[in-house]
């Protein structure tokens, strides 16, 4: 019995994160060996991840636009059950089902990014302990992407860019039409910046890149697709349907809608309305 007790306890050799971290290091190594510096490998990684997610986000954007068609009715429901949030949400969900609306948001795109983020965190931590060969700096203002963001002034610049990009991407992608929620999401990055400051700079770089991608995607889809096309055009649209040219011309030809015009424009988020006016003014 004695020797058995003396035997060292088995160390946990396997953690679910280890293979992820290894895979991440392989991917980064691969991108690095192609000729990208380490920091740009992270940017490349982000681009790859987001490219994989494009079909999901396109679907999300389409359903978001579909949702806007029903904005007036939804506003009404919200007004009706103003005092009772629980009831309000239930009624909204019922309305979705009755009108065959598929709400925009889903947990999948963000869940898929979670393992990427975690493994990148561990890979960068490994980098800071055992620096790989090659340049770890980014655009001359961040000395090392493996260090904590706040160890150098460049990190603070990156944090500012992060907050700005996060807010911008919120403007473009937030699926909610609830005003208070939107404001909350705008304030969130300001709070989150204190948490993210402790992360390696490379992680913030990942986040900035993914936000900028979101903004770019929002801009492109807004250019390609009319914001609120007539319902008849919306009926059978899939992600493969090309953007509808006539609807756009019609939109461009129409004079800027007066602000007091009916329930429909008033029900759209303010940002969108402003944008549309700017656009038609330019043409």
């Amino acid at each position: 019995m004695e020797p058995r007790r003396l035997r060292p306890r088995p160390v946990i050799l396997f953690s679910p994160i280890t293979p992820l971290e290894h895979a991440m290091r392989h991917v980064l190594n691969g991108l690095h060996s192609v000729g990208l510096p380490w920091a740009w490998s992270i940017v490349g990684l982000t681009v790859i991840v987001r490219m994989i997610l494009v079909p999901l986000t396109v679907k999300q954007i389409h359903s978001m636009q579909n949702l806007q068609r029903f904005a007036p009715q939804m506003k009404e429901i919200q007004k009706k059950y103003k005092s009772d949030r629980q009831k309000q949400n239930e009624e909204l969900m019922k309305f979705y089902r009755e009108n065959n609306i598929n709400p925009a948001a889903s947990c999948l795109p963000m869940l898929l990014q979670l393992p990427v983020f975690i493994s990148l965190y561990y890979a960068l931590r490994h980098f800071s302990k055992h620096p790989p060969k090659g340049d770890l700096s980014f655009l001359h203002f961040i000395p090392s992407i493996a260090d904590h963001t706040t160890t150098h002034w460049g990190g603070f610049v990156l944090l500012v860019v992060y907050v700005a990009s996060q807010m911008a991407s919120t403007l473009y992608m937030s699926a909610t039409i609830d005003k208070t929620q939107r404001i909350l999401f705008m304030v969130m990055p300001l709070v989150f910046v204190f948490v993210i400051a402790r992360f390696p700079a490379g992680l913030v770089l990942y986040w900035v890149t993914t936000n900028l991608w979101t903004v770019g995607q929002g801009l492109i889809t807004r250019r390609l697709m009319p914001k609120t096309p007539p319902p008849s055009l919306l009926q059978k649209r899939t992600s493969r349907t090309p953007p509808q040219q006539p609807a756009r011309q019609e939109e461009a030809a129409a004079p800027p809608r007066p602000q007091t015009d009916g329930a429909r424009p008033a029900a759209q988020p303010r940002k969108v309305r402003r944008k549309k006016q700017k656009r038609s003014g330019r043409r």
């Binding site: 239930e90 089902r97 598929n102 947990c107 963000m110 991407s169 919120t170 937030s174």
Partner: protein, 69 residues
């Protein structure tokens, strides 16, 4: 024991959830569903239910009102 699960959900909400300005297509949202499920069915079964809900929360599902039964 279920407090562990609820704490985990809150940890998620304060960190990862804060990064993503999207709301769930279901009501209650996935995270609230997880809290409800863990409260009602215990940590193991609740987590399983929440996991299944997360898998259902994809762009090919209908979404809607879907409380813990």
């Amino acid at each position: 024991m279920y407090r562990l699960g609820v704490a985990a959900v809150w940890l998620y909400r304060l960190t990862w959830g804060a990064l993503f300005p999207t709301t769930c297509k279901y009501h209650p949202s996935c995270s609230q569903y997880a809290v409800d499920a863990v409260r009602a069915k215990g940590l193991v079964r609740g987590s399983a239910l929440a996991g299944w809900r997360l898998l259902r929360c994809n762009p090919w599902s209908r979404g809607g009102f879907d409380p813990v039964r």
